[in-house]
Amino acid sequence: MHALRPIQFKPLNLGRWLVWTAFAFMLMAAPKIFSSGSALSILSQMGTVMIFALSYNMLLGQSGMLSFGHAVYSGLGAFFAIHAINYAGNGVLPIPLSLIPLVGGCAGLIFGVLFGYVTTKRSGTTFAMISLGIVELVFACSLMFPGFFGGEGGVAANRVIGKPLFGISYGPQIEVYYLIAFWLFISTIGMFAIAHTPLGRIANAVRDNPERVEFIGYNTRRVRYIMLILSAFFAGISGGLSAINFEIVSAENVSVLRSGGVLLFTFIGGIGFFFGPMLGAIVGLLLTVLLSEFTNAWQLYLGVFFICIVMYAPGGLASLIMMTVRVIAHKKFKRIFPSLLLVSIASLLAFSGAVMLIEMMYHLTLESANGSTTKLMGYVVDTAVATPWIGASLLFLLGLIAVYFARQPFFAVWGDVNAEIEHAMKGAH
């Protein structure tokens, strides 16, 4: 056994500075690389979803609270922000647009104080159900009070308010992007800092073993409550930014659907790493935006992808990347490569078969009025004939069988390699 080293204050953490600077440069350079109009709007949306997913992970990843109703805070934040924009436009409120996200954040915080008082009384599964009840409550209320929530159509606003400052009017999308990027950077730093405060650390302990935390004298409920309030604040900021970005907020912003979406994205990205949710926001948004242009079945793919992540990689994409990086760093990638390649090819076979089947079925049930032929990966396929169905089924079945036989050796090698790495890491200390 080796003695524990006391934690020392290091004046300059160079690696951390490098990462944050690189992050800032990435934010600044992104619109230069992806400069088309649609890319810019996706980037802006990504920024808001990233803040939302990071704030969600303060609950799920850091404090172990699974919420089905996080959109309540971002959505209410968005509603308050859009009303604030309208008031600022009328000259009632002297707020510049760049500070509107703060209005959303404060609204989120206040509702976090209000709802969190009830929801954080319980933890685990019951917390999940209560959060679902809260989001249903707020959603139903949003249809009951059309004066504030704007009814079915929602509340619209014009974000160009007041005189341009230094030539920035926030009319063009690029200016909005940089506003979002600025708030994303600030919020990310804020949330990263919170994760490393004693509060963030004790929240991790509450997640892992609440009973012991109670024994060392902490009130687990209060820890959950404070984390929820802070998380609701950042969710409100993201809501305010999305209000600025879209210039419209509707009841959909406070819906179960939106809450479920952020849960999917965050978990796909990975809840175990701080950057996981950001990755999830990028991948999830690309999946929703790009995939929905190609196929009607994108939600099915997203759902199946999510289930695969839950079953086979509960650490999300972030953990997959980090583990692969670790294997490469220990120069053991050559050993897993052959079996990894086999599994990948087999899964690709099964996947393409499944995609063909699903697409043909969708065509048959939803679009058969437009004729029985459909385009599949560039080829014209007739869904009324048996041949493509047999072909796709064969491909799918063969792929499944191949996966069945290829996965065992892969898991064996993967387990061995990781066990060796962990052994080596323990020995190095």
């Binding site: 172990g64 699974l66 089905f68 009830v118 009384k121 319980r122 933890s123 685990g124 599964t125 019951t126 999940a128 159900m129 209560i130 679902l132 009840g133 809260i134 249903e136 409550l137 139903a140 209320c141 249809l143 009951m144 009070f145 004066g147 179960v256 479920g260 849960l263 999917l264 978990f267 079945a297 939600q299 099915l300 997203l302 759902g303 199946v304 999510f306 289930i307 839950v310 079953m311 509960p314 699903i358 079925m361 969708y362 049930t365 939803l366």
Partner: protein, 315 residues
């Protein structure tokens, strides 16, 4: 009088339907600790299977076959999905069923399309059972109540008076001991999960044609049954029955009443100006508030009785 009795009967039949759903959910939860987020999706599957079978071979076979099919699917989900997630803990299990609910809705749309399907009440159950004053009470409502009652009695008998029921009850509290006595606890889990899903499927077969069979039906009933389970007390079957009937009554009564705080104030002899800022809140009628009442009840129960009405453990 007429209104009250009809509303009570309607509320009772709706509440009993809710109970059929929440009974399976509660059984699964109290036994495995898994909150089956996809439970309402199995209800939807039951309705669609019932529709598909009743259009080919008739409603009565569907009443038996469809729940069995849903139960089989549920057992398969437990065996090949949930069981492998079990080692990661309860939250990933819940997430798994959450993902499953997404996939089931999409699969249902894939097979039956996005619009509602014409799932009709069978001809022999169509018509009035009896007439109360001037309102006719449909046979089908009575049939729903009968099926739910039979199911309630069946669950009670199975759990209390059969060998497998005893094993299930024992596995609830002492799974390790039961395993040590030579029972296959994972198989009991699979049985309970499949059985719970079959109950949801049965509720779907008889609820699908009483209401609407459409892809959104899982979402509309899903959050209500979670409210039922929390209000009744997590894991308490009798609590689920009480809460289902309570919520059934609240919803049917609220929809029909247009009382508001404003009418109460008028009754007291004073009045509120139309342009007062809180006028909108005061003028909300009970029927307008009907959708939020279950959730308000949930909040009240959580604040004043966190265990739930008949629950005996803190979650």
């Amino acid at each position: 009088m007429e209104f009250t009795i009809t509303s009570i009967l309607n509320g009772l039949s709706y509440g009993l339907l809710l109970f059929m759903l929440s009974a399976g959910l509660t059984l699964i939860f109290s036994m495995m600790g898994v909150l089956n987020f996809a439970h309402a999706s199995f209800y939807m599957l039951g309705a669609y299977f019932g529709y598909a079978i009743s259009t080919t071979i008739g409603f009565w076979p569907a009443l038996i076959i469809a729940p069995l099919m849903v139960g089989l699917i549920g057992a398969g989900v437990e065996r090949y999905g949930l069981r492998s997630v079990h080692k990661y803990g309860h939250i990933p299990e819940l997430l798994f069923t959450f993902g499953l609910s997404y996939v089931i809705v999409e699969l249902v749309q894939l097979i039956w399309g996005r619009a509602a399907v014409p799932y009709k009440i069978p001809a022999e159950l169509d018509g009035p059972l009896f007439t109360l004053f001037t309102t006719a009470f449909p046979i089908y409502r009575g049939f729903m109540m009968l099926v739910a009652m039979l199911m309630l009695v069946a669950i009670y008998l199975v759990l209390k008076h059969t060998r497998i029921g005893l094993v299930i009850q024992a596995s609830l509290t002492h799974p390790d001991t039961v395993e040590a006595l030579g029972h296959n606890v994972p198989r009991v889990f699979m049985l309970v999960f499949g059985g719970g899903c079959a109950l949801a499927g049965l509720a779907g077969v008889i609820g699908g044609n009483a209401f609407v069979t459409e892809p959104a039906m899982a979402g509309t009933v899903g959050s209500i049954i979670f409210v039922v389970v929390v209000v009744g007390g997590m894991g308490s079957l009798s609590g689920a029955l009480l809460a289902s009937i309570l919520i059934g009554q609240i919803q049917t009564f609220a929809v029909a009443l247009d009382w508001s705080l404003l009418s109460f104030i008028k009754l007291m002899g004073s009045s509120v100006a139309v342009d007062a800022p809180y006028y909108r809140v005061l003028s909300l009628t009970l029927s307008e508030m009907a959708p939020i009442l279950p959730y308000l009840l949930l909040l009240l129960v959580l604040i004043f009785r966190p265990k739930g009405l008949l629950g005996n453990r803190e979650g």
